[in-house]
């Protein structure tokens, strides 16, 4: 599960996030929408224990991020538009490295199982640089799932993927949900988010403007909110 309590993130005088609070239960698929610069990546980075909030706190996978960031990192899997893979290493060498870093037990079996699931078993010894963008992203998903995380943080995972690769990624996430994994995904694709996620969050200029079950959101409501994409104010008071 994920809890955000009054999260603020400030870069100089600029607020990327302002008083963001929400709660997500275990095993839910949540989509976070927002225009460019709305604060999606800042929020993802705080939840992934990569960045400290300027105010507020977050709890991810049952652990407060400011108290035990290492434990949080142990329980989350992160997929972003960057693959976080070494292109000069083979698929297996990349996975072995991350398996060692995450102290994955029976790593060989786990790697074989996941590589088969995403259809990369036959290419396991090839350098990642010879993979297509879709194949690299599938491997990135395997890397993120290797240590059986209870929360999957996805930051625009469909960027640059073709239809086939996107379907495979969706299928993989649905399988993760069946194993009670919480999926927290940032995206620009409103239709996809509403069709697949159980809950939709919308950030506008760093503020959480919508937090509702995806089914209950009226058509056009999210798009109306996303149209409000003016520049982020310099102080919280400026936007009030």
């Amino acid at each position: 599960m994920i809890i955000a309590q009054g999260l603020c993130k400030k870069f100089g005088s600029l607020y990327a996030l302002r008083d963001v609070s929400f709660e997500i239960g275990q095993g839910q698929w949540v989509a976070l929408l927002g225009a460019n610069g709305a604060g999606k990546t800042s929020l993802s980075r705080i939840l992934a224990a990569l960045s400290r909030p300027s105010a507020g706190r977050a709890c991810v996978a049952g652990q407060w991020v400011d108290e035990k960031p290492e434990l949080v990192r142990e329980r989350i899997g992160v997929v972003s538009h960057h693959t976080l893979l070494y292109e000069d290493l083979s698929a297996v060498e990349n996975l072995k490295f991350y398996a060692a870093m995450y102290r994955v037990r029976q790593a060989e079996e786990r790697m074989a199982e996941l590589l088969n699931q995403v259809g990369l078993w036959t290419r396991r010894r090839d350098p990642v640089r010879t993979f297509s963008r879709g194949m690299q992203q599938r491997l990135a998903l395997v890397r993120a799932m290797l240590h059986e995380p209870s929360v999957l943080l996805l930051d625009e995972p469909f960027a640059g993927l073709d239809v086939h690769a996107s379907r495979l990624l969706t299928h993989f996430m649905e399988q993760a949900l069946q194993q009670n994994v919480t999926v927290f995904m940032t995206t620009h694709d409103v239709e996809y988010a509403q069709a697949h996620s159980q809950r939709t969050l919308v950030l506008v200029q760093g503020r959480l403007r919508l937090n509702e079950a995806s089914r209950q959101i009226a058509a056009g409501q999210v798009l109306d909110l996303l149209r409000d994409t003016g520049p982020v104010g310099t102080t919280p008071a400026a936007s009030r």
């Binding site: 990569l50 142990e74 989350i76 972003s80 960057h82 976080l84 893979l85 070494y86 292109e87 060692a100």
Partner: protein
């Protein structure tokens, strides 16, 4: 055991990447050997002038070659968001620092191992049976530079002009290590007795320890936003 495993994994990964690419070592070695050959044409072999300048040349070669390697080694982790991949791993960031510093140390030592015999032959260097002490000085100098360099390459990587920032940040802070290394090497080459050399070696050890502890503690804050 908990701290050895991540250090070992990162170190082996860096060595494997270098084995595949060879871009760090090749650039360091080409630079250092070119400088040595150029200086060989400047001085008369065996002259007093050369003997007085050689320790400086030796460390200038090592330091600038190291800076090339440090710059490239961190730039590699910036590609594809790889640094984030490392920072997302559930290990203490100080262990990531230690592994990266050890990797950089190995590259610097390798350059020293290749360059020193070439210099010994070209410049007709005499070490007056002080080889073990010379190796100690080279190792301590390399470790100090690798430690500070690893921290500052992480800082420089987050700036717009990282290639320019690294030497600007690194060289002033490394002055005590550079001075102690040059002085020790100079005394070793001129055949001075141990009592003259050891204070500089002790200074080198002291700065190595201080810099390692400070960099080890600061790294976590440097790699965080």
């Amino acid at each position: 055991m908990n701290f050895i495993q991540p250090i070992r994994s990162i170190l082996l990964k860096d060595l494997l990447l270098e084995w595949r690419n060879k871009d760090i070592l090749v650039s360091m070695l080409v630079f250092s050997l070119t400088v040595v050959v150029i200086f060989n044409f400047v001085f008369e072999p065996g002259s007093a002038e050369m003997q007085a300048t050689v320790p400086g040349i030796l460390w200038v070669v090592f330091i600038f070659a190291s800076q090339l390697g440090l710059s490239r080694s961190y730039a590699r982790e910036q590609e594809n968001g790889l640094m984030h991949g490392l920072l997302l791993c559930p290990v203490d960031r100080s262990l990531i620092f230690t592994a990266k510093a050890l990797g950089n140390l190995l590259f610097i030592l390798l350059v020293e191992v290749v360059t020193l015999p070439v210099m010994t032959v070209l410049f007709d260097l005499q070490f007056h049976h002080q080889w073990p002490r010379l190796l100690l000085v080279l190792g301590l100098g390399a470790w100090g530079f690798a430690t500070v360099g690893t921290l500052f390459s992480a800082i420089a990587a987050n700036t717009r002009s990282r290639e320019v920032m690294l030497p600007i940040l690194l060289f002033p802070v490394s002055v005590p290590i550079i001075l102690a290394s040059i002085k020790s090497t100079s005394y070793l080459l001129s055949g001075r007795n141990v009592q003259d050399i050891d204070p500089w070696v002790r200074l080198l050890i002291a700065f190595d320890v201080i810099y390692f502890v400070v960099c080890y503690l600061l790294y976590e804050y440097v790699v965080e936003e």
